[in-house]
Amino acid sequence: MKKFLSPILAALIALLAIFTTGCMGKTDDMNNDTQTIYYLNFKPEIAEAWEEIAKVYKDQKGVELKIVTAASGTYEQTLKSEMAKTEAPTIFQINGPKGFVNWKDYCKDLKDSELYKILSDKSLAVTSNGGVYGIPYVVEGYGIIYNSQIMDKYFSLDGKKVSINSTEEINSFDTLKAVVEDMTRLKGELGIEGVFGATSLQTGEDWRWHTHLANIPLYYEFTDKNIDLAGDDTKKIDLKYAENFKNVFDLYINNSTTDKKLLGSKSVADSMAEFALGKCAMIQNGNWAWSQINKVSGNTVKQENIKFLPIYTGTSSDATQGLCIGTENFLCINKNVDETKQKLSEDFLYWLFSSSDGKKFVTEKLDFIAPFDTFEEDEVPGDPLAKEVIRWMKKDNVTTIPWNFTVFPSQNFKESFGSALLSYAQGKHDFETLKNNVISAWEKESK
């Protein structure tokens, strides 16, 4: 037995040696290949479209584009580990000024890049000390999505108590509240389980409230105080418009498909499914939700019946308030990779957002409303929610609310906000406690 053992072991070692050197040889090859660029993708829902783009780009320009997609909610983790590799991403994204602070050692100044030149609204970019470090590549909007079929049915009911006759006439929080509460009363006749889909408050699924909804009161607060968002004045808030937040949040949780005490185990997908199946009439979300609604099997909502309504909170500006439109997706180029690769990455991005082939991908496959000059009026995505966002952007006398939540201090702040919201919904503490928790968490995390 022993006689055979040592040759076998020796053979194993030899195999192992071949295997390791084989691996090393392979990585060496890849390092030398300067014709490869690497994009770390943030949006899993369009990962396949990116793969297609990579293929076409390779055919046209001969440059290998490597696409890696981070699983939902794990972009920062993935980026951290990918960046530490020899073959680091050449193109990555940050979520705004806060993300820039974290990645400033990696972001290249794009002030002179072609991509920055075609950016239609230069104020959207992430800048610092005169340099441009992040360029937005998609504009998104959110508000209250409603199913106009159910709304029309409600307005045609004899028993309705409100005087208005269509959803378009809702232009303030009071009207919205009256309609919603009346609809809750009549939910049996309307065939819905609640007016709003579940207010998902499961950990990690609560961003629609602690980030998106909270953006509105904070936008008004920052505007009132005339705060420079890039400066240090954002380190303290006093939630002047907390009452407005409470208005909407209470409306959501009191007229929902789900009992308030059970919201802690609901996810975004749950509530989007409720909307897609016609179990609720309204839901707060953004235009990215279209793919989610569309994919639910047994979907009963027709494409032409999906519309947007601004989130009215009961401020004096309600009548002129529009959707919340902005971006938290900024492209950056990694300045620590090879110069040629940096150049190739810039070229690729310029190609994507300016050549006709590239633009076609952007509007048809990626479904982006791209904020670049190179896109003509009719080069926009075809999905109903994106169209609605564009319709609201173009409306006269309507003020679009920007995405100021990019200055929210940290993920930790958002999570503690989310859990405070859950406790409030479960009735464990009152709104005043919630408000104080949020204010102190903001200050603590802003240090």
């Binding site: 022993k2 602070v101 974290n102 950990t203 406790s423 464990k428």
Partner: protein
């Protein structure tokens, strides 16, 4: 043959040694080093001394909360897992009909991944709580007992197998002799079975202790710390610190080192204590 093995043993050791160095020693040393620095990725670290350790304990109360929660959890689950596993092992080493089937069934949950188990139990527990109009996130106690039940369900089978092996190793002659001497079944259990299965106890308590402290997947999938951070255990807290806050990577790393020291000391202490109780037949 022997002498040549002695001469060449190092070569045979080398592959394992390389793997161990690359995948364990190097990351470990790097990890300890990083806990003294501020960094975004492992390649741009700046030395900051003990600041991270100070922040870990004083920054906010999440770490100490998680520590306390983990200790409570570990104590409860070590007792319950070992108790139930041992009772099952006793029952299934008596030669009952269908013993093999039962052993397989009890062992099975151990083969399911932690994340899947977490979600399954989340659904089950929420289903149980639904008639009362609340869910798992309502009270930290629900999460705590949920985790205990889940861990028991998962680990009992594994520990049971180890205990069965221990029990089967006891020589039947000893038991027969005791019976002839007029020992009651309880006396046999106390004076023969228990002392002779002490080595199994050492292994099982070691495994349950370290597993309870290191528990992560189940915690993440079942409660993810909800409500608030009240049910997050040490590993989850470290993960959240590392990834959830900008500039806190070093603090997360420092917590990780503290965590390592804690588990190492406890495990060594436990092994020393239970070892001293082991006897030879």
């Amino acid at each position: 043959m022997h002498s040549s093995l002695k001469k060449h043993f190092f070569i045979f050791l080398l592959p394992t040694l390389i793997a161990f160095t690359v995948f364990f020693i190097v990351p470990f040393v790097l990890g300890v080093y990083l806990s003294f620095t501020e960094f975004t990725t492992v390649s741009n670290a700046q030395f900051v001394g003990f600041q991270n350790y100070i922040d870990a304990f004083t920054g906010d109360s999440t770490f100490l909360n998680a520590l306390w929660f983990t200790v409570k959890f570990a104590v409860v689950s070590i007792i319950t897992v070992n108790l139930f596993a041992f009772l099952l092992a006793l029952a299934l080493s008596k030669g009952l009909k269908g013993t093999n089937l039962f052993r397989a069934v009890f062992f099975m949950p151990n083969l399911i991944g932690g994340i899947v188990l977490g979600y399954i139990w989340q659904v089950i527990i929420n289903g149980i709580l639904l008639p009362y109009g609340v869910d798992l996130t309502f009270n930290a106690n629900y999460g705590f007992w949920g985790l205990v039940v889940l861990t028991n369900w998962q680990m009992i089978g594994y520990m049971m197998i180890i205990y069965i092996a221990g029990i089967n190793n006891i020589s039947p002659q000893l038991i027969e002799a005791a019976k002839i001497d007029g020992a009651t079944p309880f006396q046999i259990l106390r004076k023969i079975t228990l002392p002779l299965t002490m080595p199994s106890f050492t292994i099982c308590t070691f495994l349950t202790l370290t597993n309870s402290f290191k528990l992560f997947d189940q915690n993440l999938a079942l409660t993810a710390g909800a409500p608030g951070r009240e049910t997050s255990m040490l590993a989850l807290d470290i993960y959240n610190t590392f990834y959830g806050r900008i500039g806190y990577e070093g603090v997360g790393q420092a917590k990780g080192v503290v965590f390592f020291l804690l588990v190492a000391v406890l495990a060594l202490l436990q092994v020393y204590l239970t070892r001293s109780k082991e006897v030879e037949a």
